[in-house]
Amino acid sequence: MTKTKWVGTDVTRIDAKDKVCGTLEYMSDLSFPNMIYGAVLRSKYPHALIKKIDTKRAKELDGVVTVLTHEDVPGLNGFGIAIPDQPVLCRDKVRYMGDAIALVGAESKEIAEQALELIEVEYEPLPIVDDPEEAMLDTSPLVHETGNIHNHVKIERGDVEAAFNEAYVVVENTYFTPRQMHAFLEPESGVATIDDDKNITIWCGGQHPYRDQLQVARALGMNPRKIRIINTPAGGAFGGKDEITVQIYLALLVLHTDRPAKIVLSREESVIAGMKRHPMKIYMKTAAAADGTILANEVRVVSDTGAYASLGGPVIGFAIEHSCGAYRVENVRLEGFCVYTNNGVAGAFRGFGANQVTFAVETQVDMIAEKLGMDRLEIRKKNGLRKGDIAALGHKMEASVGLLRTLEAAENSRLWQLREELKAKPGAPHKKRGIGIACSFQGCGLGKGLPDYGAATIELLPNGQFAVGVSCPEIGQGNTTAFVQIAADYIRCSIDDIVMLSGDTGHTLDSGTSTASRSVYTGGNALKLAAGNLHSAISTLAAEILSVPESDIDIEYGSAVSKSCPEKTVSFKKIAELMVERGKTIKGEGYFIWPVSETELEGYVGIPHLLYSYITQIALVEVNTLTGETEVLEAVSVPDPGKAINPQGVEGQSEGGVVMGMGYALTEDTIIEEGITLTRNFSTYILPTSLDMPCEIETIIAEELEPSGPFGAKGIGEAVCVPISPAITNAIHDACGVWMKQIPATPERVYTALKSKEVP
């Protein structure tokens, strides 16, 4: 690997100072003169026909500037990443409580909210469907005319029945996972402006500015070039800002009023209208030989995508791809359904379907180990994927595979080594301690069959600095700092000489999403190509200045040097001066297309992946047998991110992921009953606080360098929150002998499980 000056070091986040000073402007912090405030009228019913919408009284309210309905959507009245099945403003039907019916623009937020109450909507309530399995029946009310099954995935390999017959041990269970909420602290919000030529600029935290641009343009029936989207910065996203949130509403307001507009969702509105993680019911039957070899896995997943598709289709595909864990399994029968209901909407969320199935399969593996009297780590090492292996979908693991490295590092961790000692000392006689371990893999990138590309620009500025542009937004994960490090090492300059441009269709080329653990790999590779082109342009001018042939030019940190005559050098700063003098520009663009797996699964897109990140996590828990409460005392997290561009940043991802996965395992669930969201704010949706997190989280970075990655990097943003959840539930079993088949493992569920175990 190339020697680096910045990559692999703990460079300070480029946005840290502005963030600690409170001077970084998030989108809701922006204001413009003459700005109006928008508010959205949401549905009163989870499923109903709209008979009439009357906005007259609202329009008459003093201070109301505009009231818009479906009639005011000039283009396609729909949005959605995969298919645009969600109306911008509903015309004849609502399918969940978050459905938007009207949009008010007013002189103040208060007036806008008051106007919402004056809009009269006549509904005809319809029977609701809130159970995804019922939704699959012919007798179910239809959420969409096209049928309630949005996507069906079915993949079979080998001979499952024969394997089950031959097996020494078979475990068969049904698991349930919750509707986790992203709970980014910044609710969906933004501002927009319009100029005299009807060019629209939208500032809204998001995860793919160019797709936002496309979706807004489509709804407005406008040329996308007339719409500029700025997605950076976002106050957290985690997949929940991948889909359109308020961008189209902002665009409609400015288009119809010629005034700047602002929309900030309240937390309650965000909870009701916004994305969630797909709740899944997972049936799993797993067979193993006496030596622990996993022989077969049969999986049936029903995923509740709620009222609209968003990325529900790809999520079920991803879940199926990951449903056999990071293991070699030769005989599989895997089936997944993504189903419409009237339960909110679900879409992309950190882990993208891996979280649910990993909880199931990692519990299955522990059950098999227990039945065989086998060590839990050994069974994982025995079956774990290695480079060259064939994974569950029949695809070859062609890229770097770091699973074993993570398992071995986890085995050597303090927590695993001292586990018996640590378990032996619970805090009280009625408390029991246990250790759990789990591992997983996480497909990076969008997968086979989906366009997955990146682009980057580097331009020498007149002062000798470099403007570096990658559009993948900064959503808090720290990718802009990683890009600065990568760019500085490819350009060979100081990180202080880089001006980073991010998440803006006006100043960066389309580099795709900040999702799918893809942005560092994509942006980094595009930067590598851009730096090569930049170096050619620099070399041309340097050769002229130094009076040597261009082929004689070498680029060192900060300057161009003659290879044959090393005393001949010219600094980037000097080159920049001459560039200005001669009226030239020096820049490089790089375009990168993702490599994909050779395996094609006919009829499916987004699976399989070529590149995966790997991870093993361990949890030490203490269960209060009187109350059923579980405390996670310590955790170990061993990610394989490929090269860690910024180790401190990877640690931050790892720790944050552990706590997010802990919330998923123990407390978090958006409860929706008969289409009505009950947990509408943080008083009832329980996020882990500083008092709940493990006292110790040890992160051990197990780098398995990926040859195709920038300096060997892959992606790690998602994997870090995945196996910790089953590590915790496996630890609960280790502590007190109960298998948790439904998460969150609330005190009530653990207590009930303990009590039913006592019954002979």
């Binding site: 600690v20 602290l185 609710p187 106050g235 808090g476 640690e651 931050g652 992921g657 008092l691 006292c695």
Partner: protein, 165 residues
């Protein structure tokens, strides 16, 4: 035209980050609205509006409060400190420095409130244990970091402040 309900306005005076200010408010104006909308101090963030997330934490007469829960009329005559006051001397406060050094920041939306809770703690308890730090920031939700780097930063800042005194 239908009129919106008539609003009674009131002028209040208080101190923000050492400056005397006078602001016109209505009965339902909250402290966070005054800070963000009237004084343009947008460092203070709103995350939930019901005092659960702590993103809007500021100090009122030295005590951390959720500014989304404080009616503005209660602020009359009080001393308010926000994140913008931390580096007023032109130099970063040791807490800010420590947050930067420890990468105790990801998306940064909870950071201002987190810093203010930490400031209140260190003034009252210059040498807090990790447990005491965790307790002091337990009203400030962070969805990104998992809190460890934040606690380490506050611990580090407390040591640096003690050394410099």
């Amino acid at each position: 035209m239908k009129k919106v309900k008539a609003e009674q306005k009131k002028l209040i005076s208080f101190t923000v980050n050492g400056d005397d200010v006078k602001v016109e408010i209505s009965a339902d104006t909250r402290l966070i609205d005054v800070l963000r909308n009237k004084l343009n101090l947008t460092g203070t963030k709103e995350g939930c509006g019901i005092g659960e997330c702590g993103a809007c934490t500021v100090l009122m007469d030295g005590k951390p409060v959720n500014s989304c829960l404080v009616p503005a009329f209660q602020v009359e005559g009080s001393v308010i400190e926000t994140v913008e006051g931390l580096d007023k001397s032109g130099e970063l406060h040791p807490l800010q420095e420590a947050f930067v050094e420890h990468t105790a920041i990801q998306c940064g939306y909870c950071t201002p409130g987190m810093l203010m809770s930490a400031l209140a703690l260190l003034r009252e308890n210059p040498k807090p244990t990790r447990e005491e730090i965790a307790r002091a920031i337990s009203g400030n939700l962070c969805r990104c970091t998992g809190y460890h780097q934040i606690i380490a930063a506050i611990e580090d800042a407390s040591a640096k402040i003690r050394l410099s005194e």
